[in-house]
């Protein structure tokens, strides 16, 4: 799945990737790759601005730590972020149920 297809859903994916605990940018990307079975085709560098945007919105909190002599920025969900993730998850379930009901019956083509 490419970046343009993710518009509107990237925030939910990033929040979900932080649900299990604090992670740095690269670990967030790895978690997304793992949870999507490697189907996410997004330049890793573009994860970072999205994390900054979520931090500005107060949905995640970033802090610096030192790991093997290198400074690393780690993010974790805030209370508002947990609430937002819950809302996005509910919205997605409604949307997916609606689309499934509308498209049900047709065959799912194999991914290209």
């Amino acid at each position: 799945m490419r970046a343009e297809e993710l518009k509107g859903h990237l925030d939910a994916l990033l929040l979900a990737a932080l649900e299990d605990g604090p992670r740095h940018g690269y670990a967030v990307m790895e978690a997304l790759r793992h949870s999507t079975g490697g189907r996410l085709d997004l330049p890793t560098g573009t994860i970072y601005p999205a994390l900054h945007r979520l931090e500005t919105a107060g949905l995640i909190a970033g802090s610096w730590s030192v790991v093997t002599g290198r400074r690393r920025r780690v993010y974790e969900l805030t209370a508002a972020g947990k609430e937002a993730l819950s809302g996005k998850r509910a919205d997605w379930c409604d949307f997916a149920a609606m689309m499934s009901a509308a498209l049900e019956g047709g065959p799912c083509p194999e991914p290209a």
Binding site: G25, P43, G45, T46, Y48, A50, T56, R70, R71
Partner: protein
């Protein structure tokens, strides 16, 4: 080592537009990506190329940071508020017959030039593609907006101190906009 040279060049390209702390964070992620490829058996040069390709083009990353920046959001909000505040002041100035006020022509021209400059700075911050330029333009526009609002409020209250509703509305909107601009000016400077 050729691999680390490629990564240094890539980070240098990002440093040209992005602040040090952001580049430091990206460097950490890129280093992990690079070592991940080394761990999979790639040679240093190939690992660096693969890591850089996975990270994406610097211009794409810079554009994404620019779009996500606080400066961009501040500039767009100030631009969006502009027409509403402007209409309020226009109603005040027309009903108070501004053309009859004893304001020197030079002062009127200077105010007009400053207004156009601030609008230009806001447009540059709202739609520009270079991170540093966007931050600087937004910070300057915030300062300019606060000064212009203060001049308008001071001039109108001195020249036509009548508290009719258009004056109250325009002063309240301008004061609110100034407070927003000043509150966000320091954030704009840092992105």
């Amino acid at each position: 080592m050729p691999g680390t040279r490629l990564i240094s060049d890539y980070l240098a390209a990002l440093s040209a537009d992005l602040p040090g702390q952001i580049v430091e964070e990206l460097a950490d992620g890129l280093d992990e990506t690079y070592h991940g490829y080394l761990g999979r058996g790639l040679a240093p040069d190939a690992a660096a190329r693969a890591a850089i390709k996975e990270f994406g083009e610097p211009r794409v990353i810079v554009a994404a940071f620019t779009d996500a920046s606080h400066s961009r959001k501040t500039a767009r909000r100030l631009l969006a508020a502009g027409p509403g505040v402007g209409v309020c002041w226009a109603v005040v100035l027309i009903t108070a017959r501004v053309w009859q006020w004893p304001v020197p022509v030079v002062a009127r021209v200077l105010f007009g030039v400053a207004l156009v400059t601030v609008i230009g700075l806001l447009a540059a911050a709202a739609f520009g593609r270079h991170y540093r330029l966007v931050c600087r333009a937004a910070a300057a526009a915030c300062a300019g907006t606060a000064v212009l609002d203060a001049v308008m409020i001071g001039t109108v209250l001195a020249a036509a101190p009548v508290l009719v509703w258009p004056v109250v509305a325009a002063v309240a909107l301008s004061a609110g906009r100034s407070a927003f601009a000043l509150r966000n000016m320091s954030h704009a400077l840092t992105g």
